[in-house]
Amino acid sequence: METIRFILRKFFEDKVALVGLVIITALVLVAIFAGVLATHPGDVSTFHPADRLQGPSLAHFFGTDRMGSDIFSRILFGARITITIAVISVGLSVLIGVPIGLLAGYYNGWFSDLLMRVSDIFLAVPQIVLAIAIAQTLGPAIENVILALSLTYWPFWTRLVYAETRACKNETFVEASVALGASPFRVIVLHILPNISSGIIVRTTLGMGSTILTAAVLGFLGLGPPAPSPEWGRTIAESRQYLPNAWWYATFPGLAIFMVVMGFNLLGDGLRDILDPRIRRSKSNDR
């Protein structure tokens, strides 16, 4: 409880992080309540040819698209897709990457080396290229995007956790617990993991932003969820043939992606400052 209050207080001191927090909270709320907030909730799957490509107005805040659907409503529903893709693929990456990093970092020997070399191999594959290959092979679908992103993303956590575990393992309190007779499981899960968690939280937050960006790229390339999905990247791709006249068609989904990625980055940077006591100290010295 005190920790949560402490973190909240820090957020109010750090305005930039607060902006990030507000953006991400808004994104989550929008995704949850898209059905309520949307002005034209039916427009995700239905179309109105008579209203095609109309500019922003009171009836359609962000204008309409080539099918005559309300872009504002579609962006709100697109937030659901974005959040789903980001949370599940980053979540899977954390679930795969963190335990591997902990094991490889805690133990020495050929098995640790093997785990790290495997993650190196995955790191060496360009993320977008592997994701394209997977999505191309398995077909455009939201599950395949998630699979592609998780498969390419977990080694980032493995690297981070490996390095931090190595450092933490040499701390006296870890040695002291081992000397007391604590099992490796106990030492890893109860001592090492909580002490390196701030790095993981920061990496995860920043990772959300880049995952959303990659997901949008896949959507733009037609490898995301198929039409008529309101996925943001796909919407921008559709808009290309109507530019520059229908400027609102690409602008608002683009702004949505921009805001969300920036929100996660600001939040991640803010969390880094809040959770890392060394940076916290250096910051207060600057003042």
């Binding site: 701390e171 006296t172 309190f173 040695e175 002291a176 617990s177 081992v178 000397a179 007391l180 007779g181 604590a182 099992s183 106990r186 001592h191 909580p194 002490n195």
Partner: protein, 338 residues
């Protein structure tokens, strides 16, 4: 849970003849020295063929310069480091043939108090949780209340208020951290505690209260101490016997009073001459230590002290002097000692 009744203390007037609680037999701990390619190019002999015996109820001091292997010796006995060779027999049980995990379970009653107790407590855990941990590991049969009772008892034993249980390690002072470190190992009801530099980094008044606490706890819980220190005046004050280490080897061991009044090994003599004393002559005036100890990865032949020894002769380079128990209550590893 109540404390186990104190085991009747064996007479320790002559510690060598008293019942041993710990037997260290030719213990060695070598660390590989690797070159830039990870190939081993030699061994750092941090503990090299060390044997001694600790009697129940005594305080054995281990002294020596920084880097002579005192802490490594303690950690190897404790099982934090796997010994390269040799054995330690604790309460009649050998620990050589167990893997480190099993050996540690066997040695619940052998505990190690860290040199820096602040660093030995998890910074993210409150003191309460750190004190519960040893019992959760070793006595899963105790429930939360039984553990809490024992924790309170230990907090009282080390003179800390129970309100400190809800603080984090960085919120208490160095002396208090040391008390917490002690309370933590005491929860397991140990019979022997290895105290690694227990007074370093404390100012004199705190040192005094901590030392008093050690003596109180020793009496109360029937403890035996292996007291690792480089502070000779404290060692003289509280230790029954003392072992002098030089570059991984015990060069002299014996009753504290005998060693301090009549040191046989030239290294011990130099060490003692470095002790500032108030209101008295120095034990020896004519010996000074010169230079740095040689690189432990590249030891001189024969006696390892000969490069700094003022008495060194040609024979000293030929063979290593054994630890000779030629004096009552005192052994020294020097060919020339009489």
């Amino acid at each position: 849970m109540t404390l186990e009744p104190p085991i009747s203390r064996v007479a320790t007037d002559r510690p060598e003849t008293a019942k041993p609680i710990l037997d260290v037999l030719s213990l060695r701990k070598y660390f590989p020295i690797r070159n830039a390619w990870g190939r081993r190019k030699g061994w750092l002999k941090a503990v090299d063929d060390v044997s001694f015996r600790v009697a129940k109820g005594e305080i054995l001091g281990v002294v020596g310069e920084s880097g002579c292997g005192k802490s490594t010796l303690g950690k190897t006995i404790m099982g934090i480091h796997q010994p390269s060779d040799g054995d330690t027999i604790f309460e009649g049980r050998s620990t050589a043939n167990y893997d480190p995990g099993q050996a540690r379970k066997l040695r619940r009653h052998l505990q190690y108090a860290y040199q820096d107790p602040g660093a030995s407590l998890d910074p993210r855990w409150k003191i309460r949780r750190s004190l519960h941990e040893p019992m959760i590991i070793h006595q899963p049969e105790l429930d939360r209340d039984q553990r809490a009772e024992r924790v309170s008892e230990m907090m009282r034993a080390v003179n800390l208020p129970e309100t400190h249980l809800d603080l984090y390690p960085h919120e208490i002072s160095g002396g208090q951290q040391r008390r917490v470190g002690l309370a933590r190992v005491l929860t397991l009801n140990p019979s022997l505690i290895i105290l690694d530099e227990p007074t370093s980094g404390l100012d004199l008044s705190v040192q005094a209260t901590i030392l008093t606490l050690f003596m109180d706890l020793k009496r109360k819980f029937d403890l035996t101490y292996l007291f690792i220190s480089h502070d000779l005046s404290i060692v003289r004050m509280i230790c029954d016997r003392v072992a002098v280490m030089y570059l991984g080897k015990v060069v002299e061991i014996g009753d504290t009073e005998i060693i301090f009044s009549n040191p046989k090994h030239p290294y011990t003599r130099s060490l003692l001459s470095a002790v500032p004393t108030v209101g008295g002559r120095r034990v020896t005036d004519d010996f000074q230590l010169e230079g740095e100890p040689p690189n432990p990865g590249n030891m001189p032949s024969g006696c390892r002290f000969r490069t700094r020894c003022t008495m060194a002769q040609a024979d000293c380079a030929k063979a290593e002097p054994p630890l000779r128990a030629d004096w009552p209550g005192q052994s020294a590893a020097c060919f020339l000692a009489e």
